[in-house]
């Protein structure tokens, strides 16, 4: 088993929180100025990705949408490992130990092994991505994540041509995650993506938000963010990744196969069997707003599902 240590990343190299804040203020100003010219979406990735913004344009297309306050992003969470009430994780997640932390990589790839979180963070500098988050419960937020493209991470692992799907696994430790003491779900939490979804430039591993280290209740130390899918696809506190041939069985599919499909793309036209997905309440807003196809990222991701019956593959 390979344990890669972190290359020296000095405390001084870590971007100061104030810098992020300032930078975002700059991004917003720039976006505001360029909005009329349709440049708004190009600015943020340009500034954030240090050069290779081309294929990521539009990734942070939310400059004109107000950010959900930090307080709300960090106290209103669905993270059943810390309790099923949305206020539970903020209260209970302090028991999670995010160091030492390793991510085990298995399956159809040339570089399986156990990777230390420090190494992962060292290899992949975090950039800011402002994404909408749409929960399957019909509420939504706009969150400034800090993270890096999942594709960068996956490329290093050199998946083989047999790797058609990626499966992700959350930590299972009832000592640290008190919610796992009850069999509300079939622990550990498992999610999955098709390979092309995982490699899509919008898909990131998030390690922070609002320029800060990711709070435990938001899935520290490393989580997935797939902004065009319902929030539960964006699995938190990841300890395992597996490249597989067959479509993985996810936790919510196991829990209620009729209600949660593998794809779980945000789709206002396909209702949850029990409630409507046509509209959503943006946290902080009074009236519901219409839900957008693929959560507003249709331009970037609709081609992934060309020819698929999205009612069948919900």
């Amino acid at each position: 088993m390979l344990i890669r240590r972190a290359p020296e990343i000095k405390e001084s190299e870590v971007t100061d929180e104030r810098l992020y804040v300032d930078r975002r203020r700059f991004i917003r100003t720039a976006a505001g100025a360029g909005a009329g010219l349709g440049l708004a979406s190009a600015f943020a990735p340009l500034l954030a990705c240090e050069g290779d913004a081309g294929d990521r344009a539009g990734s942070a297309s939310d400059q004109e949408e107000e950010l959900t306050p930090f307080e709300d992003v960090t106290t209103y969470n669905n993270f059943y490992e810390f309790g099923t009430d949305k206020s539970d994780p903020a209260r209970n997640a302090h028991t999670l130990r995010t160091r030492p932390w390793t991510v085990t990589v298995e399956g159809e790839c040339s570089k399986p092994g156990t990777y230390d979180i420090e190494d992962i963070l060292g290899r992949h500098p975090a950039e800011e991505r402002i994404y909408r988050l749409r929960c399957v419960e019909a509420w939504s937020m706009v969150i400034p994540w800090m993270g890096f493209p999942l594709s960068d991470f996956i490329e290093d692992l050199q998946p083989t041509s047999n790797a058609r799907f990626v499966e992700f696994r959350t930590l299972y430790d009832p000592e640290q995650m008190p919610g796992q003491r009850r069999a509300v779900l079939d622990w550990p939490y498992v999610e999955g993506l098709r390979m092309d979804e995982a490699m899509h430039p919008l898909t990131i591993f998030a390690v922070g938000l609002y320029g800060k280290v990711l709070p435990n209740q938001n899935g520290a130390p490393i989580r997935l963010v797939v902004p065009w899918k319902y929030g539960f696809k964006s699995i938190k506190s990841i300890v395992g990744i597996r490249f597989v041939r067959e479509q993985p069985m996810t936790t919510w599919m196991t829990s209620a196969p009729r209600e949660y499909g593998f794809y779980s793309n945000v789709n206002p036209e396909v209702d949850h069997p029990r409630w409507s997905q046509a509209r959503e309440r943006r946290i902080g807003e009074f009236r519901r707003r219409p839900t957008l196809m693929f959560n507003g990222y249709a331009d970037q991701v609709a081609h992934l599902y060309a020819g698929m019956d999205l009612r069948k593959f919900f």
Partner: protein, 228 residues
């Protein structure tokens, strides 16, 4: 002694009246002081619904508690508790219509028609409405005790639908609605058992009433109860 008892009775009723109003007061306070959390409309919806169900079950608990403790005047609390259930259920529905959906009637109609958990919740409220309207003494008199009683048996249906409403809306953690369901189950089984026992007693009485006159004379009480 009776004066003393009347005092206890009145104090209890006033106390419970105020206590039952407390969740509403707290809700108003939390609203005014911005303590409803990140998703205030969701919080208000859940809280009012929770209290509606709680009062519905409390209403159904009155009879068993009265019969088991022998404190007869408890029955006087039943109407108040029932009306509170209706009050919180109406608030719950009002919040859903006016705040959650903001009077988007096309969506509301779709919800009520197509989403089973909303269908049953709405039906429960529809059932509770005539019960609330006929809760006055005058209405009891106008309808006549037996008809009034038959109408108010519908509260059992409303309670079952209300609990189903809760059970069907949760995603995975059914613990809380399951507690409501279990409590309701106990309250309803109590009634099944007592009415079963009553039937048994009546049948036995009827049988002894059918016996020859010489034997019947020995059990005049049975005849009396059979006719009641």
């Amino acid at each position: 002694m009776p004066a003393n008892r009347r005092l206890i009775e009145r104090a209890t009723r006033t106390g419970i009246f105020l206590l039952a109003l407390a969740p509403f007061g707290l809700l108003a306070f939390d609203t005014l002081t911005d303590r409803l959390g990140t998703n205030p409309i969701e919080t208000v919806t859940h809280r009012t619904g929770w209290w509606a169900l709680t009062f519905l079950l409390l209403t159904l608990a009155v009879t068993p508690v009265r019969q088991l403790t022998g404190i007869g005047w408890l029955v006087k609390l039943r109407r108040m508790l029932g009306l509170y259930a209706f009050f919180y259920a109406s608030l719950h529905f009002g919040v859903y219509i006016g705040l959650d959906q903001f009077f988007a009637f096309d969506y509301i109609v779709e919800d009520i028609m197509d989403r089973p958990y909303i269908t049953v919740g709405f039906t429960a409220l529809v059932i509770l409405t005539p019960l609330a309207l006929t809760s006055t003494k005058r209405m009891v008199r106008r309808l006549g005790g037996r008809r009034w009683n038959r109408l108010h048996k519908m509260v059992y249906v409303a309670a079952v639908l209300g609990v189903l409403h809760f059970l069907w809306l949760v995603k995975a953690d059914i613990l809380e609605p399951a507690i409501f369901a279990l409590t309701l189950g106990l309250l309803l089984s109590y009634r099944l058992v007592t009415s079963g026992l009553r039937q048994l007693r009546l049948r036995r009485a009827a049988r002894s009433a059918a016996r020859p006159a010489s034997l019947r004379a020995q059990s005049p009480a049975a005849e009396g109860s059979a006719g009641a």
